[in-house]
Symmetry: C2
């Protein structure tokens, strides 16, 4: 098996059983691509036609408001998936951008291939359910944190969720992820040291 | 078919094909129950063992922070589902409360029945995937709104999502849902009239 698709094979196989024949067919439809640091993988207001699986590197998902102010919403490291699932499923304009924060190598799975996989893999629907559940729960927790946690509590949750974050992500993106100012973030970091 | 399970049959049948035999078996495992206004269906810090489908009435899902301050997170009217899916799936203590805002009649589907349904209904996994996707997208939009929309924009989105809300939900719950003060909500309402 090509080294480019070993990681995604391991991740998917940890969720459902996929036999060699299924894998050979399914993975033959993947594309592998490199993106340079700062490059945009998905633009807001375009239709999201792919799911991206990160082999190496790091992605950032962010929104912009009416004034063009960016809000970092999520970070996607190695062995994890990134997409705008609403746009992907419903063919509506994407609400978010996906950007490489480092030189990043991804497996690209197009809309047709994903929907084909849900139907044709023996446990395809289960895979879709499990992945949807995983991200659904992740986002529930994010909402819970935004509503009920103090900035220092959100900072601690973030460090558990993204243990690499302080080393790999610029501070202003982290501050915007936490919905606090960069000055406030700096104070929180000092308090933790 | 009992009138108590007609609505949920219609909703599930709009997502997947369920034949009469499957339905007879599956729905035979449902429970139907009345809750009085203000009654709690799920307490935070307990394991959520059920999914609730609202036949008539209205539910509120809310969090409390460390100071006991409540944040209304979501409203669940007729023909919709309520649960703490993370607690339900992972048997972890629930983060939220579910409360009846009106006298409410629900279909209760227990954890065993749901997981059994995913496995035994012909399209059970697809049903799980579609429902997870629906709520995943709903929560993505909520996060997007919290990060990028102004209070007046959030107010308009809420009115589209819950067209009954101003008539049926106490104002302080609506304000907390929008993450604004009741005074601010009152001003927004006046500006819209």
């Amino acid at each position: 098996m090509s080294i480019d698709i070993e990681c995604i094979h391991r991740v998917l196989s940890s969720i459902i059983e996929i036999d060699d024949k299924e894998w050979e067919y399914f993975s033959g439809l993947f594309e592998v691509k490199d993106f340079k640091k700062k490059e945009i993988l998905l633009h807001a207001d375009t239709i999201c036609k792919n799911i991206f699986f990160v082999n190496t590197g790091l992605l950032r998902i962010y929104f912009t408001d009416n004034n063009g102010r960016e809000s970092s919403f999520h970070f996607v490291p190695e062995n994890d998936f990134a997409t705008d699932y609403e746009s992907f499923l419903q063919h509506t304009p994407s609400k978010c951008y996906i950007q490489a924060l480092e030189d990043t190598n991804v497996v690209i799975i197009s809309n047709n291939v994903v929907l084909d996989g849900y139907k044709k893999l023996r446990y395809g629907e289960k895979l879709g359910r499990k992945l949807s559940e995983k991200y659904f729960i992740l986002y529930c927790n994010k909402i819970h944190a935004l509503y009920t946690l103090t900035p220092i509590e959100r900072y601690r949750v973030m460090n558990k969720l993204f243990p690499y974050i302080l080393q790999r992500v610029p501070q202003h993106y982290i501050a915007s992820y936490l919905n606090i100012s960069p000055v406030h973030l700096s104070r929180l970091k000092n308090e933790q040291d």
